[in-house]
């Protein structure tokens, strides 16, 4: 059996006041991502998806702090890694793309230079060489006229193009793990489809594992082999994507699937009322008590 690339064990974090964490936000989250695997995280807004990814990146900002657990990356606990070494991993072995590319791009520097910087910083290339590689990287994410586009500043590009630039930067050094937090939410459907196809194809070709965060189950299904469902700071269900959709077991997952209008369902069954999660969940506070971690392992609850 191969070892997992990322192994998150009982991760706890929250709002810290002095030495103690007063307000827990993650209450013991565990999941694993295998090398080359695309793993999806879905869940309610505020359930802890983004803080999980920030913890992996070592980018949690005060007052947030980890209070327990381990984040093993290739067997090494990232939580006890010196800052300097974490910085070396970040942008090189583990990279991230965000919903709003403008937050990650430097508005004062051309996109070509920003991508080139990755090669200089992490691979010790000369600037000349790095610029050539940057143009190549833009071509890889299918930016038309990459040579000319490399000279653009971020604001001179459309949202879809900027998102490609971010992907180019994130994949520049062939990372082992790409974290994508709602990377296509701000894009319109046809552009979204292209960006998703890019992420999928490039990661498959390079064997890059993906942690893909989205509240759009359709997007998750088109990218990920396995999905974890988060609710209230807990992972409440996990399964292979297909199995999760066919046989959701946790109340929240069932609510989530029923709340989604399904394409073609109106043609087939007429217009059905959408499931209101609140109506199938009698007591929200009990919701995190039952967990279904598949396949066929049940923790703290009965089937």
């Amino acid at each position: 059996m191969t070892a997992p690339l990322l192994d998150i064990r009982d991760l706890r974090l929250g709002v810290a006041a002095g030495r103690t964490v007063t307000h827990p936000l993650l209450k013991g989250v565990s999941f694993q991502i295998m090398p080359g695997e695309a793993y999806g995280l879905v869940g309610e807004s505020g359930s802890g998806k983004s803080v999980t990814s920030l913890a992996v990146m070592g980018l949690l900002k005060k007052p947030l702090a980890v209070s327990g657990g381990e984040i093993l990356f290739k067997g090494q606990n990232l939580l006890s890694l010196p800052k300097r070494e974490m910085r070396r991993l970040r942008g090189n072995r583990i990279t991230m793309i965000f919903q709003e590319p403008m937050t990650a791009l430097n508005p004062l520097s051309t996109v070509g230079r920003q991508i080139a910087e990755m090669f200089v910083l992490h691979q010790g290339k000369s600037w000349d060489e790095a610029h050539k590689l940057a143009v190549e990287a833009l071509a890889n994410v299918r930016v038309p006229n990459p040579e000319r586009r490399a000279k653009n500043f971020p604001h001179q590009m459309s949202g879809g193009l900027r998102q490609r630039v971010m992907i180019a930067m994130a994949l520049a050094c062939n990372p082992d793990l790409l974290i994508a937090d709602e990377p296509t939410t701000a894009l319109d459907v046809t552009v979204q489809a292209e960006v998703l196809r890019l992420i999928k194809e490039l990661c498959a070709a390079r064997g890059t594992a993906v942690l893909f965060i989205s509240h759009d189950l359709g997007v998750i299904a088109s990218i990920c082999q396995r999905v974890g469902v988060m609710y209230g700071g807990c992972l409440v269900e996990e399964n292979e994507t297909r199995a999760l959709f066919d046989n959701p077991r946790h109340d929240y997952t069932r609510g989530l699937l029923g709340a989604l209008p399904r394409l073609g369902s109106r043609s087939e069954h007429g217009r059905q009322r959408l499931v209101d999660i609140d109506s199938i969940i009698a007591d929200r506070s009990k919701l995190t008590e039952t967990r279904f971690i598949a396949p066929r392992v049940v923790e703290g609850g009965q089937l």
Partner: protein, 320 residues
């Protein structure tokens, strides 16, 4: 035939572009909306879909009187809504209202729910405290809030509750038409379902007509009676929801439908038509967008017309 509630005829909206033409000859104009026509019947939900920047919001703003059309006529119950004979803001407010995408941005943080619901009533000459109170109470119930919540402020509500307040505010003057510009895209999936259910309930209960703009095509399929597909300022396809989703015909519509990230389709990649499949010519005629990979918003496209290809189903084809 009964008169449509709203009739839009050959609407054009052009924006001047800074810089102007070469040698100062002729200002460059951006053709945001380029001759679109449609009608809306009482009780109907008409959706407008299309790429970002294709002119959906500009069309909606023209109907709301917030964007003066460059050309064209908009009529409400036969009466002009734009141009010289247009009604004032007050009269228009009783005809058309809008629900915004972002409930955070559209509510005044310093006004309680009661104050923000009472203001439009007062403006329209309803001053009796008991009537104002009664209408606010009834409206809050309509949108699934309690009358006690009227004294609270926007920050005390969740995103979904705020969108309910936004809906209450749009409906308080009892308009016949409500424009919904991305009404649920800022909301969490679970909340989204509640708001969609609410909008459909209110439409039935109050006999509302909706013009909905959305990038989420599964929501469009779920809610619409008819759909307009816009592409760079023009309508390229128009039809009942069944025609658009079961028999999309224009290449852009087909591209759009094929791009929907639908879990069922992603997991069982059968049944969906191949967007790239060769389309037979329709009655020997071509689509204009053939070969136009990225249409230019500054120059009007080649001459074309909407052609009826089935009951209630039109597609834009090049002039024969």
């Amino acid at each position: 035939m009964t008169q449509p509630l709203l009739q839009v005829d050959d609407l054009h909206v052009r924006f001047p572009i800074a810089g102007g033409g070469l040698l100062g000859t002729g200002k460059r104009m951006l053709h945001a909306v380029n001759g679109i026509s449609f009608s809306l019947a009482k009780g109907e939900c008409l959706s407008i879909v299309g790429e970002s920047g294709c002119g959906k919001s500009t069309t909606a703003l023209s109907i709301l009187g917030l964007q003066e059309p460059t050309e064209g006529a908009i009529r409400y119950r036969g009466q002009p809504l734009n141009g010289p004979g247009a009604p004032g803001r007050m009269q228009r407010a009783k005809a058309v209202q809008m629900v915004f995408q972002d409930p955070y941005a559209s509510l005044n943080p310093r006004q309680s729910v009661r104050t923000s619901l009472a203001a439009p009533l007062r403006l329209h000459g309803i001053t009796a405290a008991s009537e104002i109170e009664g209408r606010i109470e009834a409206m809050l119930k309509n949108v699934g809030l309690t009358p006690e919540q009227a004294k609270r402020y926007p920050h005390e509500f969740s995103g979904g509750q705020r969108q309910r307040i936004g809906i209450a505010r749009a409906l308080i003057l009892e308009p016949e038409i409500v424009v919904l510009d991305e009404p649920v895209s800022a909301l969490d999936v679970s909340i989204r379902a509640q708001i969609i259910n609410l909008l459909l309930d209110l439409q039935e209960k109050l006999g509302l007509s909706y013009i909905m703009i959305s990038h989420d095509l599964s929501v469009v399929e779920h809610m619409s009676d008819r759909v307009l597909v816009m592409f760079f300022g023009e309508v390229v396809e128009e039809g009942g929801w069944r025609q658009i989703f079961e028999a999309p015909t224009h290449p852009y519509t087909r591209r759009l439908i094929a791009a929907i990230p639908d879990p069922d389709v992603a997991l069982k990649p059968v049944g969906r038509q191949d967007e790239r499949a060769e389309m037979p010519l329709l009655a020997g005629r071509r689509f204009v967008s053939d070969g136009r990979a990225s249409p230019d918003v500054f120059t009007p496209p080649a001459p074309s017309e909407l052609v009826e290809i089935g009951a209630n189903h039109k597609v834009r084809l090049a002039m024969a």
